[in-house]
């Protein structure tokens, strides 16, 4: 097989995620594509966890619907992932013989005809390595040998992780890997029915999570102050920047709450430095009043929302696309703002750069709508593509001529007025959350409010024109289109390719800029489309309703495929939706 999906399930202490990380890194070193999704139960420590890894020499867009190769340390833990880990017919399943579950009680359907293999993972680690914790490394050796994963790459990754700081640990882990490999040579000399036949390009790739990518993108864009409050699944952004921003003369504050986080960022940006905050839905809810302040005071600001399942605490560790309404409209007043949606890990990096570009150029708050599915997954990416986009700009400062009778909110054609920062003589002004005249003095005049509302809104069509391309995949001239946003892109793109392979003409349309709606680009993408299906993970079909409300160019026949999140969008369900609509379009019309 050139495209294998494997999963490892166990308890927190089993080192499932570590093993998964090593596999992905090994694949990256060989120039293979890999994609890893981590999943945890609700326990803080020691609960069940799973790593699901897809490896291929072809581009990978999704997590893969079905698992070809499964490693189970504990059947009980695996059973908790039965929603997410669906086995392919004829899958290979390795399980620890130490688990006492009798075979007739294994939680997998008999009709799958899985190839079941008991392996003494725990025993080998305990008796031969004498370090029971190396069980995951023994498994890694077994997996690598059976799947034909690059063993040297795995060892390299282990050395990189432990080599310098803990050379003994590196040695022990490598012994454990070799032990696993040796076990396969002795006990399964003919291997199993599933083998990865993909050859890497040999050009090493990078491995990045979406959260790290957005933080790294912000760093590249010149962020100098970041403030945040921990929340799953956005905390890695805070952690990444805490580690790296000080290297770039910046500062990170873990504030007392999310309101302080966004207001620190607003203060820093008002003072002249690029600033960002990040959270997830519940934290962003707390930030919304301040988002309005940034909008009326026209202060550049970037806010990241790594969406999780809501409402309220919902399912904190899982993904959903149901904060769209919050991002677009969840603030008192008419708040001009920009909403950008990254669609994969690399895009998280690019969107962060774009967000700062728009925020600084247009003096407007920009919301990046990522989600858990994007934020916490790891993907291999091409180092060359990262820095291709050259959109890094500094604060756009007022010119000396603007400072004569300086008007911070001067009415202009673009809605963008000259901005000063402290230290610029004659540049001082009053700003506030109050409606104001051009010089910033507060007013309660309705006429001024109308004028200023128009001024602020003038930026939006310019942003729609300049930024946020609309991605189109598939048949240019298709009459059937799937509209999706954010992390749904992966499954939708793959489903469109599969449908086309089956002879259906279809395309996927995925805007990067959600608000303001890039109308012209959407019009172009939808040209000739007779029927559209809006696919999303929001029970309330927020994207469908958003498009209906904000965009006039949808085909008359536009349908919604929406369900609640938590379980990732499957290629197969999107494919089914495509087939259903393609069928309906081709059905003879009633007279």
């Amino acid at each position: 097989m050139r495209d294998v999906t494997l999963a490892i399930a166990g308890s927190g202490g089993d080192g499932v995620i570590t093993a998964g990380d090593f596999i992905v890194q090994a694949a990256a070193r060989k120039g293979l594509n890999a994609f890893m999704l981590k999943s945890y139960g609700p326990q803080i420590r020691g609960g069940e966890s799973s790593a699901r890894i897809r490896i291929s020499d072809r581009p990978i867009y999704s997590q893969g619907d079905f698992v070809d190769f499964l490693v189970v340390f504990s059947w009980k833990d695996f059973a908790r992932f039965s929603d997410e880990i669906k086995l392919r017919k004829g899958a290979v399943v390795l399980y620890d013989e130490a688990d006492s579950t009798p075979p007739e009680e294994f939680p997998i359907a008999a009709e799958l005809g899985a190839e079941l293999i008991a392996v003494p993972f725990k025993k080998m680690a305990a008796e031969e390595i004498k370090v029971p914790l190396t069980k995951n490394m023994v498994a890694l050796g077994v997996i690598a040998a059976l799947l034909h994963l690059p063993l040297d790459g795995i060892k390299d990754a282990v050395m990189k992780k432990f080599g310098k700081r803990k050379p003994e640990a590196a040695q022990v882990n490598i012994e454990a890997i070799d032990l696993g490999k040796g076990w396969v040579e002795k006990n399964l000399p003919d291997g199993t029915q599933i083998v990865l036949e993909a050859e890497g390009t040999g050009e090493p790739k990078l491995v990045m999570t979406g959260d790290d990518a957005v933080a790294y993108g912000a760093l590249h864009a010149g962020v100098k102050v970041f403030a945040g409050y921990p929340i799953t699944p956005a905390s890695p952004i805070l952690e990444f920047l805490s580690k790296w921003l000080p290297h770039f003369g910046g500062a990170v504050v873990q504030t007392e709450d999310e309101i302080a986080a966004i207001t620190y960022a607003i203060g820093a940006s008002w003072a002249g430095k690029q600033a960002m905050t990040a959270s997830s839905g519940p934290g962003v809810a707390l930030k919304l009043e301040a988002l309005g302040l940034a909008a009326i005071a026209e202060i550049p600001l970037v806010v990241v929302n790594v969406q999780r399942v809501g409402p309220s605490t919902g399912i904190p560790s899982k993904s959903e696309q149901a904060d769209l309404f919050q991002a677009v409209g969840g603030t008192p007043g008419d708040v001009p703002r920009v909403v950008l949606a990254p669609s994969d890990v690399e895009d998280n990096f690019q969107v962060a750069i774009e967000a700062f570009y728009i925020a600084e150029k247009y003096q407007i708050p920009v919301v990046i709508l990522s989600d858990q599915f994007l934020g916490e997954r790891s993907e291999t990416i091409d180092p060359d593509v990262l820095f291709a986009r050259k959109r890094v700009i500094a604060r756009q400062l007022a010119k000396p001529s603007d400072l004569k009778e300086y008007k911070r909110y001067k009415l202009t054609d673009t809605g963008v007025s000259p901005m000063t920062v402290p230290g610029m003589k004659g540049g001082q002004y009053i700003t506030s959350g109050l409606e104001h005249y051009e010089d910033g003095r507060p007013t309660s005049s309705g006429t001024m409010h109308q004028i200023m509302s128009e001024k602020r809104a003038r930026k939006l069509p310019l942003i729609a024109e300049e930024s946020g391309f609309v991605r189109v995949y598939g048949d240019e001239d298709a009459e059937l289109a799937v509209l999706a946003w954010g992390s749904s892109k992966g499954a939708v793109r793959e489903a469109v390719e599969r449908a086309r392979a089956e002879g259906i003409k279809v395309k996927a349309i995925v805007p990067q800029l959600i608000y303001p709606v890039p109308e012209k680009k959407l019009d172009a993408a939808l040209k000739g489309v007779k029927r559209a299906v809006v696919v999303e993970l929001s029970f309330g079909a927020q994207f469908y309703r958003f498009l209906r409300a904000y965009y006039d160019g949808l085909p008359k026949e536009t349908y919604s495929y929406a369900r609640s999140g938590a379980n990732p969008l499957l290629v197969s369900e999107v494919l089914e939706a495509i087939k259903e609509h393609a069928g309906a379009m081709n059905a003879p019309q009633e007279a």
């Binding site: 990078l206 760093l219 102050v225 500062a251 203060g267 003072a271 230290g423 003589k425």
Partner: protein
């Protein structure tokens, strides 16, 4: 060339003042303008951040980079500004509701981080802007619009709270004594760290003119007999029941500030390894 001498007038703005005639906040504004002149801070190097309330309007009345923000959030905005531009002078200002009710969380943590800003609270024991509801410093039993049966809550003691939290400069002023208040602001601004100044600044409209007399009668100016470097002495003063302490209650030096700590972390990071450009970070993803 002789530096141009700045006077309080240089810190006036053209923003019309909306306060009621006789409002205590006028005295605070005068003191701030005089302090700025005395410190000779160029207006473009001064940032004045406030929350929301009658008192918070003050940000518009001082010639500076002024920011009249949202209710309760003056301190984190001021902190973010100071962090971004440590070379600027940052003042935060607001009311008792703004600072001790909706903004308490930030009050606590700004003290903890010792952000190098001067925070002037115009404590009028009432919500002025919203027209006369009880505030966290309204005395127990007082009648206000939202306590028609008498205030059921006991008031909060901001001086004691700040001391307990480890504030490094704690003072109390009176808007009826502008010179004294000006000096407190000058000292607070010169202090490296969080300088907290609670100002008795009566709301004549909702608490009455006699509030000025209350401070005049019960106010006690701290003299040399008070040692502001002594926590115990300061504690004693914050616990006064009838008398109202006026002056510097507590003042200690040498506690690292928010922006100093940020710079320390930058040096620490540099010691761990120099990173020239963001592209150099690519290797951590290899």
């Amino acid at each position: 060339m002789e530096p141009v001498k700045l006077t309080a007038k240089d810190y006036k703005t053209s923003v019309p003042i909306v306060w009621c005639p006789g409002c205590g906040d006028f005295g605070v504004l005068n003191a701030m303008q005089q302090a700025a002149a005395e410190l000779a801070i160029p207006p473009e190097n001064l940032m004045v951040v406030s929350g929301i309330g009658c008192s918070s309007r003050i940000a518009g009345y001082v010639n500076a980079f002024g920011f009249n923000t949202i209710h309760g959030r003056a301190l984190p905005i001021a902190s973010g500004a100071k962090l971004a531009r440590p070379e600027m002078t940052v003042w935060a200002a607001g009311g008792d509701g703004d600072g001790y009710s909706i903004g308490t969380n930030h009050f606590v943590h700004t003290i903890r981080r010792n952000a190098d800003i001067t925070y002037i609270v115009m404590d009028n024991n009432i919500y002025g802007l919203t027209k006369g509801q009880v505030s966290p410093t309204t005395p127990h039993g007082d009648y206000t619009k939202s306590t028609p049966l008498g205030n059921p809550d006991r008031p909060l003691n901001p001086l004691a709270l700040a001391l307990e939290l480890g504030a490094t400069y704690i003072a109390q002023g009176f808007s009826g004594n502008v010179k004294h208040l000006r000096d407190l602001i000058v000292k607070g601004t010169q202090h490296k760290g969080f300088a907290f100044i609670n100002v008795k600044s009566p709301c004549v409209t909702f608490r009455g003119r006699q509030e000025f007399n209350v401070v005049r009668e019960h106010g006690v100016y701290l003299d040399e007999s008070h040692d502001p470097s002594s926590w115990e002495k300061a504690h004693e003063v914050t616990q006064w029941k009838e008398k109202i302490p006026l002056g510097v209650i507590y003042h200690v030096h040498g506690v690292p500030t928010l922006d100093e700590i940020a710079r320390d972390l930058q040096h620490k990071a540099e010691e761990q390894g120099h990173v020239e450009t963001s592209k150099d970070l690519l290797e951590i993803f290899g």
